[in-house]
Symmetry: C2
Subunit: 199 residues, 2 copies
Amino acid sequence: MKTPQALESVIDALKKLPGVGPKAAQRMAFHLMQHDKGAAQDIAEALINALSRVRHCERCNNFSEQPVCDLCQSSNRDESVICVVEMPSDVQSIEQTQSFKGHYFVLLGRLSPLDGVGPKEIGLDRLITRASEDVVKEVIVATNFTNEGEATAHYISEKLIPLGLNVTRLSRGVPAGGEIEYVDIGTLAQSIIERKSAD
Amino acid sequence: MKTPQALESVIDALKKLPGVGPKAAQRMAFHLMQHDKGAAQDIAEALINALSRVRHCERCNNFSEQPVCDLCQSSNRDESVICVVEMPSDVQSIEQTQSFKGHYFVLLGRLSPLDGVGPKEIGLDRLITRASEDVVKEVIVATNFTNEGEATAHYISEKLIPLGLNVTRLSRGVPAGGEIEYVDIGTLAQSIIERKSAD
């Protein structure tokens, strides 16, 4: 009875955000109602707007407001390379590097048989269809370097290599600015195995 | 162009939540749109509902859906004690202790002359009017033990003591479960000065 029901509902709803527990949700709700009703309004409106407008691109699965996203429609991108990622946020990260000018395919997940996520769920048929287009020469499989991500990459590679495609994977190694002393052993081992000639 | 405008607006709006930076806001927005559209709907609806229904209690300033809150209307609470706190969240915390059965007055802030927050802004006149009611015998000044909270407590005490009220402040000392070794020096000093007879 200390907190009005309407406020309690806000707290309950905010708890559904990733990384937000009961205490943080309460702090957010109280903050919005006491100090920033404008922000509360903005959040509500932005969510409602996004719910009605954001969908997945028919071609690459990335978020889009049109049936086919800007990136897939762009004439400035290299159609011969497709970068396969798990999540829309991965597209975001790779775009920020400005090191890739090809197209994407977002799996919206990774193979995880125990959770019932098989090749169908990650749209592998659609990926194969796209990768079979004549213009495509290379597929960069940029799934995460986790166990599931690696297994997914392996599975995808096995399906795509027979199509005569150049299937690649992101390099692993010491991160930019990394000090040898503090790099974990697995990464260091990888960077020794995959060492490059110093030219 | 990588993120649709509608999604970008969600990220911008979520950044206004306390403790949420650009990266967390992006993660939340992507999560909602990809995995939990129901939660997005719930949050939007809860906020809109709360914005239209939650107000401040006319008597204690706490959040309420009615002009006077449940707590102020309750006949089970001791009207002779008023606990003065800075924020509605403080009421929440004190209620959780189940150690206080009196009434509250929420300042909705603390004295902070540099920010233009004076006695008027924290509703001191209303507090004095309420504390002047015959039934009131004690006022517990439970502002924070920060510099501003202490200054506010001092100021309030000076106004209330002349009214013949018993004005008290929460005790300070070693926290429950606290180990002497790890308690900060200021707290330990306080707990020595305010030591109690072991009975």
